[in-house]
């Protein structure tokens, strides 16, 4: 599988994401934000960082980039799209995922290891890969605007449809996310976004290798 990793001015974790895609057995290449053509990649990672400085609202400018138009098309066609941290914010701003990310409850940037629960998906064949992984993943989080929010009615609907992908384990919801939500997916399941950084959990020397499962879970959509 060939992954494309978007690069905006201000991206920070794009090289880490490239490396992670390769560690899980894929090929990976950087895609400059100006590119309207994704060059035939099978899946996309929208990486972490501070696209365009995030001075307006995290992800609010990056969503308008030509590459994001192409990503929306790939998502509509059922291709895998993974948004990590700032990438998650971009996907929410672009309307590819429901909800929004607010400033952390304590109003401080937080960098720490977090335990995530992989949440059951709906009874769709595509999503069963997630259920197979049901377990706790140890993955680092690092963000200032990671408090997931959506209105209750929307959350109820998302949960009914199995759109909550990852929740913080007890005692690990450091940013105050509603219903402990760490990551969500679209109805089809091919677009996933999460605040913690699976690309920083692929090498035993730098922490854990649990992040590999987050990438692997999307390979079925390629």
């Amino acid at each position: 599988m060939i992954w494309g990793v978007l690069q905006f001015p201000g991206s920070c974790d794009e090289r880490d994401a490239l490396n992670a895609c390769e560690v899980v057995g894929g090929e990976a290449r950087l895609i400059w934000h100006d590119e309207r053509d994704l060059g035939g990649v099978d899946g996309i990672v929208v990486p972490g960082g501070f696209s365009y400085g995030d001075y307006l609202r995290a992800g609010a400018i990056a969503r308008f980039s030509p590459a994001m138009e192409a990503v929306a098309e790939l998502a509509a066609a059922g291709g895998p799209v993974l948004g990590i941290c700032n990438g998650f914010q971009v996907l929410c701003e672009a309307g590819l995922l429901p909800g929004a990310l607010l400033r952390n409850q304590e109003l401080r940037f937080i960098c720490k290891q977090a335990d995530l629960l992989v949440v059951d998906g709906p009874k769709s064949a595509d999503i069963e890969r997630f259920s197979a992984h049901q377990q706790v993943l140890s993955i680092p989080m690092k963000h200032g605007e990671g408090r997931y929010y959506a209105p209750d009615a929307m959350l109820d609907e998302m949960e009914a449809k199995g759109q909550v992908a990852y929740r913080y384990a007890d005692g690990h919801n450091a940013n105050g996310s509603v219903r402990d939500i760490a990551g969500v997916r679209n109805e089809r399941g091919n677009v996933v976004g999460l605040m913690p950084h699976p690309e920083h959990a692929v090498d035993p020397l730098t922490g854990s290798i649990d992040g590999r499962k987050v990438f692997e879970a999307l390979e079925g959509f390629a």
Partner: protein, 730 residues
């Protein structure tokens, strides 16, 4: 700039009358406003090192692994396989004391530019901070602002903050210290120097536009004491934009990788004045700069303002005329500015033009190297010149004493701080903050890893500047040994008081001597440094604070020891020439008993202990390694226990043979001690003294007639108590 209208302009700008006369002599006429502004900056302490340069000549700077030494934007050492690691520490003390968020943020921005200016990609940031006591509202405000500022800049630009150190001491109350360190990684052959070359080449200014921020920062803020009315100096603090820096960084690295630049220099203190002057000086050429071609934030800026502006996120490059279009196209790609503002000449002069008309014309030599260097007039103080404040009764029992030490803000866990920094971006961080004695970064490109430690206990240096500085260097060496690293090079930031006063002059003189001798004995070259003087408040000078940072190499990133114990049943041992006393210790501070004097470290014996520990860690013969530092052996053992969640029992009775009282054995401080854990036979084979065993949920310590038992839970609570106290800021 505030001013007294009766004061001559040159004095307002910080020049003495005799310095002014010398400028007139060198120019053969009175300087105009542009020239005076430029001289005042390049002849400031911050740029000219006029009170420290003579002393700095004592430092050893050569070594087989040195790639770049002092005088470049950053020092660099060879790490093998054709790669080098660059590093530098710089202060941003006075800006942070005036406006902590932007002061600290731009401190990080500035040190990053120093490193990518030589063609190295920044891979880590560390910082060394000093504030007044944590119970002061001012200190908590400064701490909060500085930490947010460091996080804001470093997090946004994607460079991990992997470690550092912080002390809270009364003498920093009015003059906090913010020293930032950056580590870079580069292919050795791709690195560039900052010397302008090639007559007729184009000088290109890249990055942000130039505004009125930071005008006079180097002379007004960095080269004078802080005092009343400092709020009026706020306009001299620069404002940082990490997004701009991120673009300039990537742009510069791409330009260098494509070989499009002849040379590159960052714009830091004194802005265009120092970068243009220093580039010309290093290359032995002249430079013409046309201020009308500099992109401005405000249309009506005067030529002198443009030349001295300290607007951030700017770089100056020398480019062959035929490559200028290509360079500017890459700047456009990264959405960062570029302008052709000047040309390299053979005149040996820095000429400032405004739309072609000459508004300043000075010999490079006079401007950059013409500042007189001064001898200090050092005089030892008659006794302890700093205060003493008792916060712990000498009658406190051993349990209460250990808990008070673990809760001391300078000793307690700094988790509250480092969790506000991204410590993992870049995928190199093998040991995160407080996981080991030194930060460890893997280098997959060269197959090995580096370790970094930064240290400088000003209180101990105040007790005896020579021995205290030797200890700071040894502490770094010990920290590196704990993760199996061998020192490659050292850099430093010398934070001292007013060098024109006898006691700070004595402290500086003694500290630099200590630094020179210990580096010589250890065989560790000093590859760069920074000096920050005039760190004084209304109550006098800060503690003399030489912050030293050491970079070491380890062959295998998988083979490093954590500071926490590994498993119950392991033996605990003490290794090294550790003979603690209460002099200069945290306990002496809490009892209000600080006085002059500190034992002389046995450098050779400490170096030998470091080698033993290093080899043992590399060979996997120890399960944990932690150096004995602030709070003594009791605190070192407790930290290894808290870090792992494993209690222990230890008897320090054998330290009696080293002339230590029970109290000194428990809480005394000194250099050269390592706490190791592992198989008893392995530890004994290393020559270590077995003192206890890992296990249980308590900390049990005995030393002669003193003994203590506390729950690991209570010790952990004390050590973690900084979080709540620092948060009490809002």
């Amino acid at each position: 700039m505030t001013g007294d209208s009766t004061m001559p302009r040159h004095r307002e700008l910080g020049l003495t009358d005799s310095e002014y006369d010398l400028i007139v002599e060198k120019l053969g006429r009175e300087p105009n406003a542009v020239e005076l502004a430029m001289f005042s900056l390049l002849w400031s302490e911050h740029c000219a090192y006029k009170h420290s340069r003579k002393l700095l000549g004592r430092l050893p700077t050569d070594g087989p692994r040195v790639v770049m030494g002092p005088g470049e934007n950053a020092g660099a050492v060879d790490v093998g396989s054709g790669y080098a690691v660059a590093f530098k520490v710089e202060s941003h003390n006075h800006p942070s004391a005036v406006e902590p968020f932007q002061g600290a943020a731009t401190g990080v921005g500035g040190i990053l530019r120093d490193v990518f200016a030589i063609g190295a990609r920044p891979i880590a940031v560390l910082d060394s901070l000093r504030f007044g006591e944590l119970d002061s509202v001012r200190s908590r405000h400064l701490l909060d602002g500085a930490v947010r500022g460091i996080g804001h800049y470093g997090n946004s630009i994607g460079v991990p903050n992997v470690g550092g150190e912080i002390y809270f001491e009364e003498p920093y109350e009015h003059n906090c210290l913010v020293n930032a360190m950056c580590i870079g990684f580069a292919k050795t052959e791709a690195m560039v120097r900052a010397a302008a070359a090639g007559i007729g080449n184009t000088v290109v200014l890249m990055g942000a536009t130039t505004g009125r921020d930071g005008i006079g920062g180097a002379s007004v803020l960095a080269s004078a004491e802080l005092g009343e009315g400092d709020d009026a100096k706020r306009p001299t603090v620069q404002v940082g934009d990490p997004f701009e820096e991120s673009k300039v960084l990537e742009c510069c690295l791409e330009l260098l990788e494509k070989g499009l630049l002849v040379s590159l220099q960052d714009l830091g203190a004194a802005g265009l004045t120092s970068s243009a002057g220093e580039m010309a000086s290093a290359g032995g050429v002249g430079i013409d700069i046309d201020v009308a071609k500099v992109p401005l934030r405000e249309a009506d800026m005067e030529p002198f303002e443009i030349m001295v502006s300290e607007s951030q996120e700017r770089m100056l490059a020398v480019v062959e005329p035929s490559r200028v279009a290509e360079v500017r196209a890459i700047c456009d790609k990264w959405q960062t500015g570029s302008a052709e503002i000047g040309v390299v000449t053979d005149s040996g002069r820095v000429r400032i033009l405004k739309a072609g008309e000459v508004v300043g014309d000075m010999p490079v030599e006079a401007l950059v190297d013409g500042c007189p260097l001064y001898d200090l007039e050092p005089e030892a103080p008659a006794g302890w010149i700093y205060g003493n404040r008792q916060t712990l009764a000498p009658s406190a029992d051993s349990e209460a004493t250990l808990l008070a030490l673990l809760a001391a803000p300078s000793i307690a866990s700094k988790q509250w701080i480092f969790q506000q920094y991204d410590s993992i971006v870049g995928s190199r961080t093998v040991r995160r903050p407080e996981a080991a004695d030194a930060a460890v970064l893997q280098l997959p490109e060269s197959g090995n890893a580096i370790a970094v430690s930064i240290d400088g206990n000003g209180r101990r240096v105040a007790c005896e500047p020579y021995n205290g500085t030797v200890e700071a260097v040894l502490e770094c060496a010990q920290n590196l040994a704990c993760v199996g690293a061998e020192p490659l090079g050292l850099t430093n930031c010398l934070n001292f008081g007013n060098p024109e006063k006898p006691v700070p002059a004595w402290q500086l003189d003694r500290a630099i001597s200590g630094l020179a001798v210990v580096c010589e004995e250890l065989g560790v070259p000093v590859v760069g440094g920074n000096v920050s003087l005039y760190n004084e408040g209304p109550d006098g000078p800060i503690y003399p604070t030489p912050v030293v940072a050491m970079v070491g190499e380890l062959p295998n990133p998988a083979q490093t020891a954590p500071m926490g114990f590994a498993k119950a049943g392991d033996a605990i041992a003490l290794l090294g020439p550790f003979a603690p006393t209460l002099q200069g210790s945290e306990l002496a501070k809490q009892r209000g008993e600080l006085a002059m004097g500190l034992p002389e470290p046995d450098v050779a014996a400490v170096a030998a202990a470091c080698a033993t520990v290093r080899e043992a860690v590399r060979a996997g013969r120890v399960a944990s390694a932690h150096d004995v530092s602030d709070g003594g052996l009791a605190c070192a053992l407790a930290e290894s226990a808290i870090s792992s969640g494993l209690g222990f029992r230890a008897d320090l009775q054998d330290l009696r043979e080293r002339g230590c009282s029970p109290e000194e054995a428990l809480f005394g401080e000194g250099t050269g001690g390592f706490v190791l854990s592992g198989e008893r036979t392995e530890l004994e084979a290393l020559g270590a003294l077995v003192i206890g065993e890992v296990g249980s949920t308590t900390i049990e310590l005995a030393a002669g007639d003193r003994s203590l038992v506390i729950g690991l839970v209570d010790a952990t609570e004390a050590w973690r108590s900084l979080d709540a106290r620092a948060e009490a800021v809002a």
